[in-house]
Every structure is written in C-alpha cells, then in structure tokens.
Amino acid sequence: MAGVAMNLRDSDSDAAFRAELRGWLAEALPGFPPDRPGEDDWQGRREYDTAWQRTLFEAGYAGIAWSEEVGGRGATPTEQLIFLEEAEKAGAPYVGVNFVGLLHAGPTLYAEASVEQKAAHLPRILRGDEVWCQGFSEPSAGSDLASLRTRAIRDGDEYVINGSKIWTSHAQVADYCEMLVRTDPDASKHRGISWLIVPMATAGIDVRPLKTIVGGSEFSEVFLDNVRVPVANRVGDENDGWRVAMVTFSFERGTAFVGEMLQSMQLVRDLAQVAKKVTRGSATAWDDAGLRREIGHLSAGLDALWALTKRNVSQASRNGVPGVGGSVFKLHYSETRHRLGELTMRVLDRASLSMLDVSGLRSGKHVEGHLHAISISIAAGTSQIQRNIVAERVLGLPKDR
C-alpha cells in the first residue's frame, strides 16, 4: 500500500530534479545582481525581471510544466511546485513583471489558444522576451466583471476596440494585454464577451499609471480609442470569452499566489528575527508571550496553506486545471496576510510609521508588506466574490439574485 497511499515524499525523479535545481541555484544566484530596481523604475524592473527569466529559460527551468514544444520543460506540476519551493529558499528573484505572462495569460493560452497563437507567444513569454498585462476590469465592471462595456466591433478581419480598462498591472512595460471585450451587446452579459490578445504598441492605446496606497504605480488605467486588432488574435470562439476567462481565473486564483505564499512564510520567520531585536523596556518584543504565540499561531495557518497547495496540485495533476480549491486558498491566504500585517504593526510599534528601515532594524519591507496585504483580499476577485463562489459552487447555496 505504501506506493499508492497519500504521501508527501519526493519520487526518485522529483528528488533528482530538486538536487539538480539546488545545485544550479547555488551557482547561478551569486552571479545575479541582488537588488531589484526601485518601485517606479519600470524599465529597470522589466530588464531585471526578464533577465532572470531568460537565465531560467537558458538553464531549462522556465515553463516547467509546459510541453517542450512551446519551450517548456515538459515536467510535472509537482516539479513546478518544487521549483517554487527551492527558488524561494535560495532567495531567487520573484516573477515580477512576468507575473501575468507566466501565471495567468500564458497558462490560459496553453490551455485554450490555437497552435499558431501558442507558437507565437509561449516560447517568448518563457524566454522573457514578452511581458503581458491584464485588461479585464473596467471602471464600472469590477466584481460584476461580466457587465464590462469595452466594445470590439468587427471590421473585415479586424476588431476595432473602444473603451477603458483599469487595475492593469505592468501596463507601462507590457508588450501584450489579455483583454476581455464585448463583441455582442445584445446577448446576455456572459454570452457576448471575447478574449483577445492585444499588442500594447497598437495605435490608440493610452496608458495612465495609477498611484496606489503603497505609493508606487503598480497599476494603470488603459484607454482604448479605435484600437485595431486582427480577428486572428482572438482566443476561443467569438462570444465564448467568458468561458476562456474562467480558465484564466482558475490559474489566477489557483496557482498564481503560491510563490507569494512561500515568500510570506519567509516574511514570518523574518518578522520573528526582527521581534527579537525590537526592545520593549528591558526585554524584546519576542519576550512578549502573547505576541510571540500569535506569530506562532499565524505560522500554523501558513503551514496549512502549504499543505493545501500540495492537495490542490495533486488534484490538478489529475484534472489539468485547478478547481475551486483556488478560492479556498485565496480566502485563507488573504486573511492570513492581513493578520500578518497587524502583527507587524504590533512588533514594530512606532517603527511601523516608516516604510524605510529604522535605526538598523530591517523593518521597511514588513511595513510595505502590510500595505500590500490590503490588496490581496481585493485583487483577482474580492474575498466577498470568492465567498459567493465557494457558497454557490461548493456548498450549493441558492444564487443571490
């Protein structure tokens, strides 16, 4: 029974992959500049993030679970997870501006696009040659995304697009946008949407950065004025874009946060070290048993999320696309990050007022992390929308309409 029973052990091939990857990271990382360019140096961030992606590609570590045909490694989702785990342990750079290409748009293309579309984009995404952004939300279509109004009218073999998108991450430096547009205004709202590949260099696209509460411009507004895109850039059938978007969501919610969650585990370990340095009277913040236990309690939640990730990956290995497990993961991850932020403030006390390190205390990234945490329960479907999904699709409760 040992061979088939539920287990968390590396198979022989997984263990070999892990060892080889560890060896490679130990050699590759020292040669790579440790500091990523600052918040608003978008061109610098793009260069840094894509250089790392290219390094991964050349070493055979890009697109681990994608087929060799499109430039991937042709390995398993489990090896993908091992990659995330080892990369985080080694302190490798995060996906950064490659986020949408590698984690939402790319996987959607991989699952839904034509052979030509895959060949045109997937190898370039994996090499770090193409950066993507996401054009789903609109100023008046947020949680009610299917009410989106950006219009695409067919003109010969082109679509002419007019409208605007919002919360578009990395739009300033993106080459392509995965965009939802309305192709049939007369159909019911979920039935008249199409999923398009929009080149960001097309005439008529205007990108205006939005300043977030963190202080940088992670997101932009994108205005579209008679933007002409070939019909050949549509993924899936015309008016079948909502179904394609659901595939995107399953990746966006299901697997895209795993790397960030692993970083959060490191953040908790690091917060414990900071707490041991913060003085409280004659002792330290870590000597406060109540605070210390709350941090320990929080780490239980992250350990459980890591276990949940392994369950979700084991399920996805059988089914291909992550299921509603992603909503469960994201709800708990959001809540855990909010709690981590609150504990950060309690540990840092007055040092929590500065986004930069205070008197040699490595506190700045924790303060910034707390601000970032506030976006996690909003991005990729608010926690309220995720709860509706869980309640209606898993628990079978009646729709509230």
Partner: protein, 312 residues
Amino acid sequence: MDFELSGDQVDLQEGMRKLCEGRFPMETVRELEASDGVDRALWSELVDAGVFTLRAPEADGGVGLGSAESVLVFEELGRACVPGPLVASEIAASNEVVGIVERARGPVVIEYWNVLDRLLVLESNGIAEVDPASVVAARSEHPVDPLTPIWIAERLPTGVQVGDGELASRVRLNGALLTAAIQLGLSEAVLDVAVAYAKERQQFDRPIGSFQAVKHMLADMLVRTEVARAAVYAAGVTIDDPSVGDVDRAVSAAKITAGDAAVKNGKAAIQVHGGMGFTWEVDAHLYLKRAWALDTAFGSPDFHSELLATRL
C-alpha cells in the same frame, strides 16, 4: 508526492463513515449521556472494527496501518460526534477503555472517570499508570459538554511508572494528532448541519442561505474546514514518514487549525440557526461543546502556538 487519498484510504474512510452512521446516529449519541458517554456494547463494535488497534502491528493483533489512516478513522468518529475516551484508548492500543491525563500541581480534570478500565498519567519525564478506583474524584454535575462527563481530582496517586519521557512525548504528539482529526470531523459535520438548515429555513420569502450575510459565514466555515483538512492529513503523513517534514511542527499546525475550525464552525452554525440554535434540541451546541472539550486536550492552542514560535 501524491496528496490525494488512495483507493484503499477512500474505502477505509467510507467504511468508517457507514459504521458511524449505522451505530451512532445523533439520537443514539444523545442517549449516551445516560451511560456517561460509553456504552459497552457500542464500544465493542468500535473495538471489533479495529478503531483502537489500527496502528498496532499485525503481530500484536493490530491492523498495522499508519497514522494517515488513523486520521481518516478519527475524522469519521468526529463527524459522528462519537463520545468516549477514543484518543487515549487508541494510543494505549487497548481494547479496554483508557483515560489519559496530565499530572498537574493543582486539581486534575478526568474525563469519563467512572467508565475507565485504566488511567495513564503523563508526567514531565515519564508515564505512570494509576488504578482509576484509587483516585478520589468528585463528579461535576454540570459538564459543559453533556457527552464529556468530568470528575475533579484534587491530587493523583503516584502510580506505577510504565513509560519514559520519550514515550510520554510520543503519546502527547499522537494524542494531539488524533484529537485534531476528531476536530476536523466535527467542523465538517457542523458545516453540513448549518448548510442544510440554510437551504431549508425561509425568511423574507427566501431560503436564508441565499443571503450573502449568511452564505459568507458558511463559505468561511468551508474554508476553515479545508485548511484544517490539509494540515491534519499532512500531519498524519509526516508522522508516518518523518523525512518529509518536522513532525512536531506539522502536528501543532494541525491541532491549531483543526481546533480553530471546530470551535469557530460550531459557533457559526449556532448563529446560522438563529434562536433555534440556542436550544438544546438543535444539535449544533453538541458539536461546539465537544470542540471546546477537545481544544484544551493534548495541548491548548497557546501550547502549540508557543511550540511553533520556537521553530521560527
């Protein structure tokens, strides 16, 4: 890595669920209050099913399965809200009814004292066995959980040394694991009870489960349950195969998340039932009260949080 149940494990889980549904429907569970939580005939059915000897080697008359499997069995006992000193009896790998307590400087709470055949006392550096009849204990006439009757002993006899400190640590670890598995089962069962009621109960001419204020509570119950399930299963697998992680850390994370799920789901289920939820007649309080009884067994949330903090 394959963190999905195998076919054999699914069969084991389903078999245990059927046994519990047949022998321990909630009416029966409620009637067990009259026999202080343990009915010898029903107990021997659990014995015959191998519940208490699941992990004992086959050479010793056990079933020879692992902790991952014992977790599945105890999850089902929790789902059915089966009372009795289940965890202690499994750890003793005994067909008798066994209790385990921690020796303390102050008074000690002993669950199910009058039905115990044996009583083990965990100490800082070993385990003592005490004859339950030799303990002077006063019954609490009003235990919070009607199915977890308790006695208070001002002091425990010295007893006979039966294990060393290392064995005591293993008992605590396994006790926390199986307790967490029961808590997982409780949190699932009480979620099912609440969801069924939310679909059926009408107010404002609609099922209350259609209101977001209600359905979001139920969604949070599911999230807590699934997070706990991942942690509890991972802890069972890690005990069986310590090469995959830190056993103590995995068990503490399981005990914390499953305890949290059981207690918070219990309260949420009462809230979903409204005024009816506050009545003795609705089952929700029985799940919550069991969750409370287990929350401080084999390490409180504070104890396990402290352990995890030392690992950071």
